[in-house]
Symmetry: C2
Subunit: 342 residues, 2 copies
């Protein structure tokens, strides 16, 4: 198993990316190909003990920056770390691609470099979201790849989500829901109302419409939405969680007794933080492209990168691309969707 890592991507690159690569190579015993400017990567690698680890460096002179326009960057920066890394996935040299860089850029580079799975109209960016279900999480997609969609795109997102949680998270008959403004079918916008009709007719285990407040309750294993709404939802929640944390810290700092209290409660606070920390989930798979692509948070540190590599490894070993391809074929031939026995 060999992972191509965009060593230059993310707010904390190359420190975080190199650190994450070293960490993942050690913990999971896999090969990591670090793609980017060799002198920069080598300088970072020198800070770590890499004895016995299978790390390689592949040169790429350019970087797709956070504020680059995605499509233009992919077109013009042919020697960027993203484009070069994806080439080695396309050629079969690497099994998966991981990046914490410009997510629009990674998406465009993946589409351009790997193409879509046959029959998939639009790839979707997904994220694992903590939820009170048996699996402890649900898959939310699309969170930003497609801002304007049609109902049939949403249905394909549902199918891809089904296969991901089925193959990778080993959930036997994944419950699939549509994100909406109410459970009732007459609620939601026209897109969701139209999508509800075709979801009900499909072979998916469709559990209906899920309100935004209920996503963390784990009412569905796969929550489907368009990339605009999904992005607003996920960033809204992240922003609120971050501001609550900061505001609480501010209130605590004002009160000496509360400072002591927070110290005594630190175990509980840490346990909660671990549960809701995006770093634990590492990154979200981009489903529907013809290869394994995991997009990590731009603010990823070494630990988040390590975990994004873990996600990529799991998706590759479970052959998620083939699972989606087969699922789509079965769908078209009107066969039942496969069930996992766990």
């Amino acid at each position: 198993m060999k992972i191509a890592l965009d060593a230059m991507g993310g707010d904390n690159a190359p420190e975080a990316t190199v650190h994450g690569a070293v960490w993942a190579a050690r913990d999971f015993g896999l090969k990591v190909q670090l793609v980017g400017q060799p002198e920069v990567i080598e300088a970072e690698l020198a800070k770590h003990n890499v004895k016995g680890l299978d790390l390689s460096v592949t040169a790429a002179s350019e970087v797709i920056e956070m504020d680059d326009s995605p499509s233009a960057a992919v077109k013009h920066k042919k020697d960027s770390s993203m484009v070069v890394a994806l080439r080695s996935v396309k050629s079969g040299e690497c099994d998966a691609f991981v990046s914490a860089g410009n997510s629009g850029g990674a998406l465009a580079a993946a589409l351009f470099g790997l193409g879509r799975i046959k029959g998939i109209k639009r790839p979707a960016l997904s994220t694992i979201f903590p939820a009170d279900s048996e699996a402890g999480c649900c898959l939310l997609l699309d969170i930003g790849a497609n801002t304007d969609v049609r109902p049939e795109f949403l249905l394909q997102f549902g199918l891809m989500g089904h296969h991901y949680v089925h193959s990778v998270l080993k959930i036997p008959n994944p419950r699939v829901g549509l994100l909406s403004t109410g459970e009732e079918e007459y609620k939601g916008n026209i897109l969701v109302q139209e999508a509800t009709k075709i979801f009900k007719q499909s072979k998916l285990n469709f559990v209906g419409n899920i309100e935004a407040k209920d996503v963390p309750l784990g009412l569905a294993d796969v929550v489907v939405t368009d990339g605009f709404t999904g992005n607003i939802y996920i960033k809204g929640v992240q922003g609120a969680a971050s501001i609550i944390q900061k505001a609480l810290a501010r209130e605590i700092k004002r009160r000496p007794l509360a400072i002591l209290g927070a110290f005594l409660a630190r175990g509980a606070i840490k346990a909660l933080r671990t549960k809701v920390d995006y770093r634990e989930f590492g990154g979200g798979p981009l489903l529907g492209v013809n290869g394994i692509v995991v997009i990590a948070h731009g603010r990823s540190d070494g630990y988040a990168i390590r975990n994004a590599i873990r996600v990529a490894r799991k998706a590759a070993s479970e052959e998620i691309v083939q699972a989606i391809e087969n699922g789509l074929r079965k769908w078209e031939e009107n066969e039942e969707l496969s069930e996992v026995t766990v």
Copy 2:
């Protein structure tokens, strides 16, 4: 000043509504007309000391339930508390209407009972959201009245939001932003991209596109979105805040030292809760209808109802309907929007 209150609306009615009415009448010295089933309301009133308070009861035999379909309910339940209460606003007997009941029902009843302000294409439901700005909050709209909109509706939402924060919150030149998936103009869906163009050409103090994570940072005083996205955003944030709180309580309960810690930090926790508690903000004004309508959270308790009445009173005393009407006229005559000197 007299407020017509839907005494039967909300998960905790009539206890919460009657309690809130008594509280508001005492604290703000205003008249409250309690509309609903007289025997039910009288029984609740008997539990309170109402000496010297100006509370009246107006009979309405029916109730629009939480799971009623809004338009059908308004059409068929002509003697419902919502419809009757709105009639007394329409007639001029009352200055504003407050309900914590079925929000779709309240919206439909308000549209039917009061009509729209001349020139307003679609009324929008707004909410006051805590934010790190000078005012300590921002106005977010639409959060559910219109699931499918056109760019020009969003522009009117911006205008109505401008006049609300200008007249009621006394913010001189309100900063208006569009909720989007990124600050860059090429981001967002087609609706937002089209709206961005007309916002830029308008006389609003348009500050560009606001990411969902940045709403609590107070980058804008008015955040405009469609009712589908706004509803997902607000419920997503509420759901996440609620689950974080519950999960933290669970982790604390497992650890004796953490229980002591939480006790010592209770002042800080309470201070934070007050800041982000929807009950403090009471309810959201429905802007664009020809009268003052405030829609409170379905889970409102007495304190939330009291505060929703406070919001209604403020909107009525600042003549927000006239402000929007004048603003729209000035807009059409291409005059500058008014500025408040504070």
